[in-house]
Symmetry: C2
Subunit: 398 residues, 2 copies
């Protein structure tokens, strides 16, 4: 098959690719892959079976449930495994939509499309709370929005800018008024400490493949005592909270990845990201760091390059062996500027010149330096081609 040939060639090349798109997805860590293998081979039994092999699969799932629970400070019984982050988010919002009859849906204007598109599709009025120019929730506007709110959905950290949101403060305000809070922590988990009790949220969504687990598996935390209405109906798996034969290998992989994240070295991530940014900013003019650098995931760098079209930059960087994104992976190919940058008040021209670089534990300090050099060359080339020259130094925001 043609594909096999391409893969073989690519494997050679892949070794030289500097992968800086961890916010789009991450590779399985070797220990995650190893943990999954038995369940892709001899451990195939349906966990609902009555025989020994089925009971072993069931036990492996429960072990993974404990590992995921531990990552976010929850009890295992509060964890529901799903088919991915989008399903977790949709399931959380479905439940709140159905259980709270009246009131508005309060979300930030920079939520992921899994939140925004869900709430917009419901008959309920939606309040999109503004963010500051640095991409953090406007707490004053949020406080006002709580009047007449049915529920709140607020992300823990933004997927594009990496800006960490004031979730604990926001959840406290909502709790005072008895308003349930869901948090999309898909981008935050494994990158900052998440403690559902401390945060005071009622539901929280996770996606395994964002923290070196497999694709196609996610989890939803549902606080004990909170009413929950399932959206996936069938065989009654997951204590009737999410039907469908359990994906044992995927769930075990998510558990193993969660366990790895407990030992993650966020400081090293920050060092690499800072080294990269320092190198880029020292070598190029007309570069802006978007988002609040004092409240930012340690792995994310969202940069705007004056007089550079992001689409062109991505092509040059791909050629140079640097994998990164303009905005979120979900937005690639769409010509609209990101709603996140629009919400931050970033001008359209700047928004269209923005690239997200996101690091993970597979990267090295050397790669950070090589990537910065590649960015410098790509930006300079593009500026020459596009004819604008380097132009005046304008730092858009920092």
């Amino acid at each position: 098959m043609l594909l096999q040939v391409d893969l073989a060639a690519w494997r050679q090349e892949a070794k030289d690719v500097i992968y800086l798109d961890a916010n789009a997805t991450t590779p399985l860590l070797p220990e995650v892959f190893e943990a999954m293998l038995p369940w892709l081979r001899e451990g195939y039994a349906n966990p609902s079976g009555s025989y020994m092999a089925a009971k072993l699969a069931r036990r492996a799932i429960d072990e993974a449930r404990g590992q995921v629970a531990e990552l976010i400070g929850a009890d295992p019984a509060e964890i529901i495994f799903t088919g991915g982050g989008t399903e977790s988010v949709n399931a959380a919002l479905f439940s709140m939509d159905r259980l709270v009859e009246k009131g508005t849906a309060v979300v930030s204007s920079i939520e992921h499309s899994a939140v925004l598109r869900w709430v917009e599709a419901q008959p309920r009025v939606v309040t999109r709370v503004a963010v500051t120019p640095l991409g953090r929730l406007d707490m004053t506007a949020f406080g006002r929005a709580l009047n007449g709110a049915a529920y709140v959905s607020l992300m823990a950290a933004n997927n594009e800018t990496g800006v960490i949101q004031p979730l604990q403060e926001a959840a406290a305000l909502a709790r005072e008024r008895g308003i349930p809070v869901h948090s999309d922590a898909i981008q935050a988990a494994g990158k900052i400490l998440i403690d559902v009790r401390k945060l005071g949220v009622d539901m929280l969504s996770l996606s395994a493949h964002k923290f070196h687990g497999p694709k196609g598996v996610g989890a939803l935390y549902v606080r004990e005592g909170l009413s929950f209405k399932p959206s996936m109906l069938g065989g009654g798996q997951e204590l009737d909270r999410r039907s469908g034969t359990e994906n044992t290998a995927g769930i075990v992989g998510m558990g193993a990845a969660a366990a790895c994240m407990k030992r993650a070295n966020h400081q090293r991530l920050g060092e690499m990201r800072d080294l990269f940014e320092r190198n880029v900013l020292q070598r190029l003019t007309g570069v802006a760091i978007n988002g609040d650098v004092s409240h930012r995931l340690s792995n994310t760098s969202h940069l705007s390059f004056e007089q550079c079209d992001a689409a062109g930059l991505l092509i040059l960087l791909d050629e140079a062996g640097v994998a990164c994104s303009a905005g979120s992976a979900c937005m690639t190919g769409k010509q609209k500027p990101s709603h996140v940058q629009m919400a931050m008040g970033i001008p359209e021209t700047q928004a269209k010149s923005s690239i997200r670089f996101s690091f993970s534990c597979i990267n090295t300090h050397e790669e950070a330096e090589l990537a910065a050099a590649a960015v410098k060359h790509a930006v300079e080339k593009l500026r020459r081609i596009q004819g604008g020259g380097v132009g005046p130094v304008v730092i858009y925001s920092s």
Copy 2:
């Protein structure tokens, strides 16, 4: 970890287990596992990315889409990948529920719980059409039920008895009246030829792990030209019909399994199943074959054992190294007799003495004979323990 120790011990034992629960789930075929491996390792890129690695993942997904389409005679563009069979079924019914405002939901009384529980949860009136004592749709009752129907959902083959339903005839009746038809073909795919054009269905659900693909991935066929309203909202993947980062490895595995199924040897499956049944029936009295043997999946044997409690039999068979189920895997542990058997008019006592044996290509003729011998011993032991003796020969149905 304790689990690792157990697994090692179990691997030894697993070699001797005769796995006759293929309708609950199937192991990955070696070629499916091999096809998945690159996408669990170096092929991790998010298929929505703009760089080369992402484009390779995208191409692999499209190749798998073609393989799944070919299995059911569809066009690739008509295939939506999902997170599993339950999601496929729920998504199909969601779409029909939202797009057809008025009318009843017409389903058979032996549908899987993914269908039954979905329709029962909607405000719409549900007509559960009766089946014959042999477990096939009552076509007269079905014809009547179509009056005022919004849509139909009818399984291609029943998961418990293996009885193949008159789907083509039923779909033709519905089509005459312009009523859309969804079919849960999860248990049929890979076991009988499925051709969506010939069947004349509008939507059809598949689950990879039922035909030697991975768990956690399914597909939904949506006929070209049919309006479809997506239930999973977010990044707009799958042409905006199912959001969520694509599970590349799972999807590739489903494609590879579909390709394998095109070459499946159904005759061999039937030989093994028949050999098993012949041996059981020759050696034991008071055994009934449930369901229409002239319209039955070649891999499935659903038997009732007079004066034997299924729960007890399962324990003895597990000890003897035979893995099988009472009813569907989803129903294990629930003490209620199966709704499928109830709908067939099988008395409760008989229903509670029923076991499903389901074969797959990993089985051998020798295993069929060994399993029959194990069944004979287990039934005789249980009849001795339960004190009833062998009793009069009563063939409940055949």
